[in-house]
């Protein structure tokens, strides 16, 4: 065949169907393997094979108490570390009946939205390079630094903040945070307008994504996908709106959806959401009351036997924790329902029948993060 053995090209008896293993190194899939069968350049079968970065987060949780679980639970998704920790804190607060000060709720919303922007810029940069658009890789990565600086000023860490704790947040915002945030968000908004010009209106991007990988609303619901992928198919389903947690019900924001359900819509909805995140952060900074930011807890908070199921809207979609407590200081069972894992069925569904060259455009538009899916 003339191909290196690492490509694992197998030929079927008829000589028509080729099996190609994509991944698990990083040729556009990232710690994740996709076994695709192609007939010519049409994909006839795609079998996702996750698990290369599985680290047993759920088992690890059972050995640590609720507070010790905080730092390792954000490891599966360091680009959106507040988003992945948020429902865990909400769940522990329900189980152990911990009150949260009002100011902490606002700070949590601010940091969650800031993390959504940080995450979506990272995602957008990689989407740019997937489609061969180098500028769209450089720009978001550079602008992301400014937001990371902002997050660092608040939390002390660039990416893995470990900032949310049951009962509030770890520390208060620094003194000049509001002015700094407004300045950087204004600049960020201006940059988003430029992204529109250089990327979203670019013929290269439009040709590669419009009408590619169309997911209907009915299929999207049946397959259980979530977040921007679901909203791009026309289902206005956003946990921040339908089941507001913390102070989202006191803020005024839009939920965007599109009806086409193609890769273009799945890339455009996150852009609109970043505009809306800027809006939310500004509102929250204005409305934020003063006061304490954390309820003092003993070393081992615990609650009666019971269970909780809390969900939030993270950058990639609905993120839920199913916590079972047996009355001790350690959780009896922690089940993470992560959005990336829920996008897997859609991946093989959409890839079947599409062209091999469209695989990166479809794969990355699904917002799939292997480390988060594997946990």
């Amino acid at each position: 065949m003339g191909l290196p053995p690492s490509m694992q090209v197998e030929e079927s008896e008829e000589g028509r169907i080729l099996t190609i293993s994509v991944g698990p190194q990083h040729p556009g899939s990232g710690h994740f393997r996709l076994v695709v069968k192609v007939d010519g350049d049409i994909i006839v079968d795609a079998d996702p094979d996750p698990g290369y970065v599985h680290r047993g987060e759920e088992k690890m949780c059972e050995y640590r108490n609720y507070i010790q679980n905080i730092p390792h639970l954000e490891r599966p998704m360091i680009a959106d570390s507040c988003g992945i920790l948020y429902p865990f804190c909400l769940g522990v607060e329900e189980i152990a009946n911990i009150p949260v000060p009002e100011r902490a709720k606002y700070i949590r919303v601010i940091m969650a939205e800031l993390n959504r922007c940080i995450f979506e810029l990272y995602w957008l940069g990689i989407y740019g390079i997937f489609l061969g658009h180098s500028t769209m890789f450089m720009w978001p990565m550079g602008d992301r630094e400014l937001l990371i600086d902002l997050a660092e000023a608040a939390t002390g860490a660039r990416v893995t903040h470990a900032y949310f704790v049951p009962g509030g947040v770890r520390n208060d915002l620094p003194e000049n945070f509001k002015e700094r945030a407004f300045r950087q968000l204004d600049y960020f908004k201006h940059r988003l307008d430029q992204y529109k010009d250089i990327f979203y209106n670019n013929p290269l991007f439009l040709d590669r994504t419009k009408g590619v990988g169309v997911l209907s609303a009915q299929d999207a619901i049946n397959l259980g996908v979530t977040g921007p992928v679901l909203r791009a198919s026309g289902v206005k389903h956003d946990i921040r709106k339908i089941e507001p947690y913390d102070v989202y019900d006191q803020l005024d924001f839009e939920v965007y959806s599109m009806n086409t359900g193609d890769s273009y819509a799945r890339a455009y909805v996150p852009l609109l959401e970043m505009y809306e995140s800027i809006n939310i952060i500004k509102q929250a900074l204005e409305k934020m009351p003063s006061g304490s930011v954390r309820t003092k807890l003993g070393p081992n908070p615990r609650g009666p036997a019971g269970e909780s199921f809390k969900r939030v809207e993270a950058g990639r979609g609905e993120l839920a924790y199913y916590l079972v407590s047996d009355g001790t200081a350690k959780p009896y069972r922690v089940k993470m329902s992560v959005p990336s894992f829920r996008q897997i069925p859609a991946m093989s569904y959409l890839l079947k029948g599409s062209k091999l060259a469209d695989m990166p455009a479809i794969y990355w538009s699904l917002n799939y993060w292997p480390v988060e899916a594997d946990r």
Partner: protein
């Protein structure tokens, strides 16, 4: 507001005492939950189910926006069809397995959300099954909820639950040559712990 807290054992006391009691939270549940005031929306959903299934199903809790029933293995397909077609909860969110070695059961808990009916979108409906620990078998729910395929595969490898009729019960996250017991069972322990 954990309405499951039906055993007011002061949590801060000695662990050795707390553990055995906590292991059987099911027994007292219906007795405590029934008098608790159930919000109107949840009440409507519960009445639909009790009207259809009678005493074949058991209400575990009903808190605002969260309901959970326990279902028998033989009824689960009917129950899921009713939930999907008649009541309108159409979006699979999570399938979790929980191991209870002391009671010798494995619980499989499905969490189902709703995307299409505006009155239910804020709610999450859960139903659980209790399977014998030495032979955990239940029918797959893929015919009703297509999206649970990978969730059930994960529960299969992590807790050893057999989903009958599942097209691909294979390893998903674990290594292909995994030769130990399913890791999320309580008798599997992390080395050095």
């Amino acid at each position: 507001m954990s309405s499951q807290g039906d055993q007011p054992e002061e949590g801060s006391q000695a662990k050795a005492e707390a553990k055995p009691e906590a292991a059987k939270p099911e027994a007292a549940k219906p007795v405590v939950q029934k008098p608790v005031e159930i919000p109107a929306l949840e009440k409507g959903i519960i009445e639909k189910f009790t009207g259809r299934f009678g005493d074949k199903i058991k209400l575990v809790y009903a808190k605002p926006k969260r309901i959970r029933f326990n279902v028998k293995t033989e009824d689960v397909l009917d129950f899921a069809r009713f939930l999907h077609d008649e009541v309108g909860f159409d979006q699979p969110i999570s399938v979790a397995g929980v191991d209870y070695p002391k009671e010798n059961i494995i619980e499989v808990v499905y969490h189902i959300g709703c995307c299409t009916k505006p009155e239910y979108t804020s709610s999450v409906f859960a139903f659980g099954l209790k399977l014998p620990r030495n032979d955990p078998k239940m029918p797959t729910l893929i015919p009703v909820y297509g999206g649970v395929e990978y969730h059930e595969r994960e529960t299969f490898e992590m807790l050893g639950v057999i989903f009958e009729g599942h097209p691909r019960l294979e390893r998903l996250l674990l290594p292909e040559d995994w030769a130990d017991i399913p890791p999320l069972r309580k008798d599997f322990s992390i080395k050095g712990r």
